[in-house]
């Protein structure tokens, strides 16, 4: 009886093992990854470039990657092989990412490109090494790094509190009544240092609270810095309307950009 029970348990375990092998709980692809940004363009084969040496085949995606973004290497090699990717930049520096192939012999490694070109684009080199049982395949090739322009998308917006839409997209919001409050918004990157002021026609600047020549403020985790300023100017100097300027200086990662936004101050 006990023997029969043992046989049944063994049979059940064998069936479970067979089912587990046939339908794994995960896809089983080994990943080695650094950085946070996802490579979203690699579903399209047009963005992939193939390289091969011996039994190791490497798909690189994208062929042109912006500095700071991830580049993905899909390596088809021996199963359970140790895989490394070395990115060699044109200033002689390099970075390495490691991982291992799964039981299908596939490893997907993603690495952030840690070099920003001097001009628009530059070529860099990668080397993929796949090692298993003392045998190493090396696959090398080129990819292109596009220059990242930090803070290129900084936006300076403003509107009177009594209107809902933002200047400059809504021209009517670029006119503000005297003695109203102006809401100012700077959209940049998380943690960027923002210095902001409003300049009256007589050249007198008005700074946001805690944000003047001796102190600056920082953009929040979503990259937004906001401030409110009351606007007040002698009505007799306003006449049919005068121009005020909102000036922002944004700094991050060693880059600084200036933005200005003219608005028209009117009596009513």
């Amino acid at each position: 009886m006990a023997t029969i029970m043992i046989r049944r348990v063994c049979a059940i375990l064998c069936m479970l093992a067979a089912l587990g092998a046939a339908f794994p709980l995960t896809a089983g692809t080994a990943h080695g990854r650094q950085g946070r940004a996802a490579v979203v363009v690699c579903g399209d084969p047009a963005n992939q470039t193939a390289f091969q040496t011996g039994d190791t085949r490497v798909l690189v995606c994208p062929a042109t990657v912006t500095s700071g973004q991830l580049i993905r290497f899909t390596v088809h090699t021996r199963r359970f092989a140790a895989v490394s990717v070395t990115l060699s930049y044109p200033d002689s520096t390099s970075s390495m990412t490691t991982g291992s192939a799964n039981r299908q012999g596939v490893a997907i490694l993603e690495a952030p490109v840690q070099y920003n070109p001097i001009n628009r684009y530059v070529k860099a080199q990668f080397t993929v090494a796949s090692t298993r049982l003392g045998h190493t395949d090396e696959v090398s090739g080129n990819f292109t790094i596009a220059q990242a322009a930090p803070l290129a998308d900084v936006q300076l917006l403003a509107r009177p509190r009594y209107l809902d839409r933002w200047c400059p997209a809504a021209p009517e919001s670029c006119r503000v009544r005297d003695n109203a409050t102006v809401l100012i918004r700077v959209q940049s990157t998380a943690g960027a240092q923002v210095s902001l002021s409003l300049q009256y026609p007589d050249g007198v600047p008005e700074s946001c609270p805690n944000n003047n020549l001796t102190g600056t403020a920082f953009a929040n985790p979503t990259g937004v810095y906001a401030c409110e300023l009351p606007v007040s100017f002698p009505p007799k100097s306003i006449g049919k309307g005068v121009q005020i300027q909102i000036i922002a200086q944004v700094s991050a990662g060693g880059f600084t950009v200036n933005r200005s936004l003219p608005m028209t101050l009117v009596i009513r």
Binding site: D91, T144, A146, L151, A152
Partner: protein, 502 residues
Amino acid sequence: MRRRLLALLAVLAGVTLALIGLEVSGAFSSSAPRSAPLLPPNVVALGADPHALQETPLGLGVSVGIDDRRDPSIAAVLRAAGVRVVRFGGLGSDDYDWETGCRYGDTGTQYECTGAPGKNGALDQFLRFAAQVGAQPIIVVNGEVDDPQQAARMVSFYERHCLPDLGRPGRPCMQPYWEIGTSPANWKHFAVPLAARLPEDAYTIQPDQYAALVVSYAAAMRRVAPCGNCLKIVADEWITGATDQSWTDAVTAIDTHYSPLLYSSSGPEPVPSVADIMTAAQNGFGGRPSIDTWLSDLRESLNQFSNGQHIGIMVGQWSIDANAAALQEPPVYAGYAQAVFAADLFVHFWQDAQPGGSNPLLLATQYPLSGSGQEPFDYATSLPRPATQVYALVDRYFGAHPLPLSLGDGLRRVGILAAAAVDDHRRASVLLVNSDQHHPHTLTLRGLPAGSRDLWWFEPDNAGNPGPLQHTRLTGSSLTLAPWAIAVLRVDQQQPLPAQER
């Protein structure tokens, strides 16, 4: 006696009539300018220029930045289009050490090396690319380092690895234009060795200093060139601000850069519209001048110099937007508007070429070659964009020797642009652009010689991309241009010379 008097009177009358006839036919083109006769509103009328063929032809080409793609597939498209010149070096030329293949940033420690000459460096790749295109090279040497000898060594290197001129017996080296630096007004490290640069170097070179630099470079480069003084030297237009004029003998041509738009994705300005792009070269945009004003200002500057009239002009870098280094260009720059802008600009180049006059326009190159929007090739895929279709039309079928042309007011008002030229076989041709996106327009051509008339054209397809190049034979003198059509009409007959040349 009376008979003799009558005979004399008859002869005098005949001579007077003949003179009136010649005057009416326009044979005395050198006479004082007259007001142009009024053209009917929908007429395009060709003039004649007896000197057209003797002038240096106007060439179109592309400018290849050090970081541009130089794929054989791109070269093949340009070769098929008949592109005549390629220029090496854009804004990065003065950061580039051709002998090591390294480029430098604002500090000497910030550099990137992509291969020295002889080791598949950028210069090797460019020479190979120019050979594949079959075009005359223009090479920009590093002027900012103030080292004429490195430029002279580059001339020697070229002579050893030159592009043969396949069209001449013995296949001698094709003689490039050599340009001394690019955009000296923007130099920040003048006379500082590349590896010793510091951010605080900031030093603006004055036009007189640049003029002296050009003279010394020209002397050093001509000394090592087998052809000596025939080496063609190009200087940036910054030189025209010099007070000294000793540079005028050293310089073959002046390089100017033209882009009517200046858009920043982060600025408050809205994205330029198709209408903005259509009118930009003709009227200027946002305070930036039109191409006509731009060239006329440059000629005015050159006229200050007593020996400046022989100097040619090249538009070494043109683009829709001066923000050419931007990686995020508005998608509208990459669409069909790109083709109409290019054709519009070419019409103006031909109209402004001033053949036979002072400071003729010699050539124009688009920069950069590849990129994310306004460039003729997509950087990621190397696929051609709409401007390449214009090269294929203009370089293949339109003449390189400009002729005068008049346009009726009606055509002008609706956005028809036109230029005329003869080719090397003296066949007259007319470049026609309908910049009206929504309406076809009919026009009548006058002044064309008799003979069969070929018309090549393209227009946008349903997806808004350039359609295929089409061809037909015209029998009459009228034709209708579809919305946004770009066309070349050529007469397969030699353009008759004006009466005095026969």
